[in-house]
Amino acid sequence: MSQIIILPILLPLASAVVMMFFWKSVAVHRVLNVAGTAMLFVVSLVILANVLSKGILSLQVGGWAAPFGISMVADLVSAIMLVATALIGFTTALYSLGTIDEKREHYFFYPLLQLLLMGINGAFLTGDVFNLYVWFEVTLISSFVLLVLGGTPEQLEGAIKYVTLNLLSSTIFLAAVGILYGIAGTLNMADLAVRVPLLDHRELLSVVAVLFMITFGVKAAIFPLFFWLPASYHTPPVAVSAIFAGLLTKVGVYAIMRFFTTIFNHDDAAFIYQFLLIASAFTMVVGVLGAAAQYDLRKLLSFHIISQIGYMIFALAIQSPLAIAGALFYIVHNIIAKTNLFYVSGAIKRLKGSYDLKEIGGIYRFYPLLGLLFLVPALGLAGIPPLSGFWAKFVVIKAGLEAEHYLLVGVALLVSLLTLFSMIKIWNEAFWKDDPRGSNNIVDEDYTHIGSTKKVMMFAPIVVLSAITVVFGLWFEPFFDLASRAANQLLDTGLYIQSVIGVKS
């Protein structure tokens, strides 16, 4: 039964390959993309159900026994991330139908989307450090191509910054993997968890921990390492920005979570948590201040990604079971709310013809429903009860108070006020004030030419994700129970080791 955990990798790969065979027919691509992601979602739910009932699932690829071959492991954290990824993959598949132009579709937009999902799923599932590097590269190269697809000057310029900084982080990752193998003689995460506490050369181990920290810090966009993100995320079509915003940085956060609970959980790496605490405060503040200065809708939202990453890192750095559960809940809540906000920004652009907040306005007057659909993820992100963000922040801040990080809790609360401020700014500028081009300017010329199917495809994902944000808020208890179980499982390294190599440490 544990063979099922390879499916989240094989399914997108198979869809992408089949699409390539029908490279002339965009219609086949569209159908396969939606069907493939829908199946992925079902498979992910089945995996989650299985992990819930049977504990951690692991698979030794090719039948090579654990420390020698490549292990795939699905514990609760991985399974939850898989479900979130598949959900975003599915909604983005629908949203792309409504928003992506035909030229991009012809240049393999959909196969690339599938390969991106494959890379992300691989990163969540792997139990091998070098394999994680490979999945990072798969994700990166698909995201590179998705980012430049279309080839506008703005996209190319954003891509240069994105590509350079991410490649740099990849070489650091590779060096860290090499040194880790040199001192530990294994790259299997479970085997590392057994061996690392017993090793000599503790100082070298600290060096490796810092190298990993920097690599994942770049991927997750932590404070001094985030500059590639706001320089590039606003350049591609909004469907691409949305899936990047939802998933890519979270892969980095997941990797930090995995490495610093499973492998580097000994005292020598404790200084990493101190560093993470300080970095998280700066990440929160710098991200939200960057957002406050922006008037381009997508740039504003891009800066918010960074600010929100700060909360997750803060929670991870506290390291108590409650905090880890909070971080996990926060990640899932943020994936959904953030992606949704990007979807809404795409809808606004199509309605009003611009992303610039100074050039648009008056949407609420004619489209009050879109106003509501914007407010749900926006207030959710800011943390207004009873939406999901309130609980996410509540848990993180409670964990912070329990760990007596009062200053950081203060920063977190202040930043959520500023988050609310910039969400209200979008509301005022885009929805509330009159359109600067005159209040008779109801919709953009181009919007009237969009077919009704396309419009449905554009708004359906927004409705679905907004509904999930509300459900997360109103029925918080079962979701948080799940997150707590996942956190306890993650912190009990013995379970992970036992599942992969069969001996309890």
Partner: protein, 121 residues
């Protein structure tokens, strides 16, 4: 031999870091390539150098005898080289397209995605 390789790795890292910090994009790309090679050689060196002893089980026995060269670092490097090759090829094409579109290779002139839009008067 290990000492020599260590020196080479160091030099490659130094050259790579220097080039990455340059303003010209061509040099930045070369810097990234050098850093990639440095990382590969680092894995090779840190994975212990054993001369003339491939990890094959000799005929007639069923166990490897020490010393033997660890095949895993070599496998890692091979994978990393292939990935690096693909990514570098992509980067060079991206650079070519960018030079054609923007007409510059000076990184200081590529600021439009970072700056705020000029104020409307």
């Amino acid at each position: 031999m290990t000492f020599l390789l260590a020196v080479i790795v160091g030099v490659l890292y130094a050259v790579g870091t220097y080039l990455v910090l340059r303003r010209s994009l061509v040099k930045v790309i070369f810097g990234l390539i050098f850093l990639g090679h440095a990382a590969n050689l680092l894995i090779f060196t840190v994975g212990r150098l054993t001369k003339g002893a491939p990890a094959f089980i000799p005929e007639g026995t069923d166990m490897l005898t020490e010393p033997f060269a660890d095949p895993l670092p070599q496998a890692l490097i091979l994978t990393a080289i292939v990935i690096g090759f693909g990514v570098q090829a992509f980067t060079i094409v991206l650079f070519k397209r960018m030079y054609q579109t923007l007409g510059t290779e000076d990184l200081d002139k590529m600021r439009s995605t970072d700056q705020l839009k000029p104020e409307h008067k």
